[in-house]
Subunit: 355 residues, 2 copies
């Protein structure tokens, strides 16, 4: 059931405006609603559909159920020369992470590097949004998070104690595009499984296994199995230590305390994140660094290819391509998504998307 006709396109500014109106309708102050609209639309523009406006009905549902604080006092709870801890006061994750990332950037201006831990936050969209922000200040950004649903057991286990805990690293270049890695520690993110189910497609072997350890390829049966980590026990280890750094160290949820925010609209998630900003010029002259990144990017892109490979890509190229396309033509909004947003608009008594 692949889509027969291409999905209608909607301009990013219309997504932003719709998201902001919906947020305001449930009590979020206008300035905060605008930040959320801008960041969620940015996710759609860069092709992170699973983290953009698609999530809005769920976010609104959780806000209405009282699981998210719409009038938060986000604050710096601990502040030392090389680190800080941010208490998100259970705000929307986008607000908490904007706050924390600004803080990391400010601190790194004088400290050279700043590690900012976050707790009492919520789902904040794609990891790369925040990792990319320090680049505007010629800094490297590194982001870690505890995912908001456990779909990964320990290696050899079947109890889902871990999430797809993502890592994103964004590195500014000179003339070349920046290098932006944004990856889950599982072979497939759970959002991709949901997309396969929506489209009626099967999953390749290697994405999931069932409780007997057999490959699970029917995405409609995803509840009967679990995701596989990249590199087997290595990906399990990575997911675990990312969770310890972003969750346990910050006093945020990890392991059995993680709330499945896809299934539970009522519980506070206490989501944990980490954002690190590294001030490049404190390590080596900025122009020299950027030249070195450019050279490496060109060496890689120009390197010899395996038979049948059409191009060698660098992390972040897919998002750049999506951005160019969507800024020119708008963001695709497939019919089922449009319907769910129209329902949301009616329910909130706000004008629908694009109006």
């Amino acid at each position: 059931m692949a889509e027969a006709t291409p999905a209608p396109r909607v301009q990013a500014r219309d997504l932003e405006a719709f998201i902001a109106r919906a947020c305001e309708a449930v009590g979020i102050p206008a300035a905060d609603a605008a930040v959320i609209g801008s960041l969620m639309a940015r996710a759609d523009v860069q092709g992170s559909e699973g983290h953009g406006i698609f999530r809005l009905p769920q976010y609104i549902r959780r806000i209405k159920a009282g699981a998210v604080n719409v009038k938060p006092q986000i604050r710096v709870e601990r502040d030392l020369p090389g680190m800080a801890l941010v208490d998100g006061d259970n705000a929307m994750g986008h607000l908490v992470m904007s706050f924390a990332t600004k803080l990391a950037i400010e601190k790194a201006k004088t400290a050279g590097a700043a590690w900012v831990g976050v707790h009492h936050s919520n789902h904040a969209g794609p990891a790369s949004l925040y990792a990319a922000m320090p680049m505007e200040h010629d800094m490297v950004g590194l982001y870690l998070a505890v995912g908001n649903a456990n779909h990964l057991p320990a290696w050899g286990g079947i109890d889902m104690l871990l999430s797809t805990n993502p890592i994103a690293v964004a590195i500014p270049a000179g003339e070349e595009p920046p290098i932006v890695l944004d990856m889950a520690t599982t072979v497939a993110a759970y959002g991709k499984v949901k997309t396969k189910a929506q489209r009626g497609e099967t999953m390749p072997e290697g994405w999931m296994i069932d409780r007997q350890g057999r490959p699970l390829t029917d995405p409609k049966r995803a509840d009967e199995g679990f995701l596989l980590p990249i590199g087997g026990y290595k990906g399990y280890g990575l997911a675990l230590v990312i969770g310890l750094l972003a969750g346990t160290l910050n006093g945020a949820a990890m392991g059995r305390d993680v709330v499945d925010f896809n299934k539970d609209d009522h519980s506070v998630t206490n989501t944990g994140h980490v954002i690190v900003a590294l001030n490049v010029a404190m390590f080596r002259p900025l122009a020299e660094f950027k030249r070195a990144v450019d050279e490496l990017a060109r060496d890689i892109r120009g390197s010899q290819r395996l038979p049948g490979v059409d191009a060698i890509r660098l992390p972040g190229e897919g998002a750049l391509k999506a951005r160019a396309d969507r800024i020119a033509k708008g963001v695709p909004v497939p019919a089922p998504l449009r319907e769910s947003l129209d329902r949301l608009a009616a329910e909130l008594g706000i004008p629908p998307l694009g109006q």
Copy 2:
């Protein structure tokens, strides 16, 4: 050709003493030689054979060829509240990383977190050695490095522009053993390929491919192919960004500048590393953190298992088990290793291992 009889065992203190004598014989001051002996023996004791005394003949060869500085002035080149850059002055990596890790720990005592970059270093042994050091001060350690030989192409490519760039993260627990992840970003480390070749065994599919993209399973043909990254393009992305953080950002070798120290005894490597120390008590009360790590470790270890799985392991358990065995019985020294060390002793005019 698996070994018919178990390898003779040698006590760790004898390894230490032999390594130190060999280092002194090529001009390394006694205090430095003792540090190198202690760290290399620690690698063997924790089961990281590919990074212990096995490397000694190669290290000595490179020192004699003038590729490593035996009388270095390791120094702090840049020092800011949250970061520092260390110039290793082309010393043995063990000395540089001991220095850098001490610095990170000292800084994190007041800064809460410290990111220390390193350049002009050399191969320093297993990543976990340094990641584990902050734990003695109730800190979390994180280590990244550019590997000392490129065996990994970009995803889809065949030019080996990347190394197996490792990551190690060490997290102190309370009553449970610490969680210590130490992993290369390839499915197999190159040392494992060499071990397979030595033993006359074949490699499983998925470790390496040849220049046509076909599985390569004969480790004697390793030169005709390259390692595969974990999770395909994800592991490629990880290896790339680890190299950018540990190499490019610090002004150390990365990409085509990486010297293959297995094949080249003469060139200076300009190896780059990163060590981060995170002072747990600055994030949350230490006892509370340790209790949370203990609980998570117990939840994971006690979780339900897939059919046929005998135990669920946590990262670092293998090393702990090896350590217990080797402290009690000594480190196995197989005949070919013993022979190469005896040759080295004769060449340097020092008493052989164990005497």
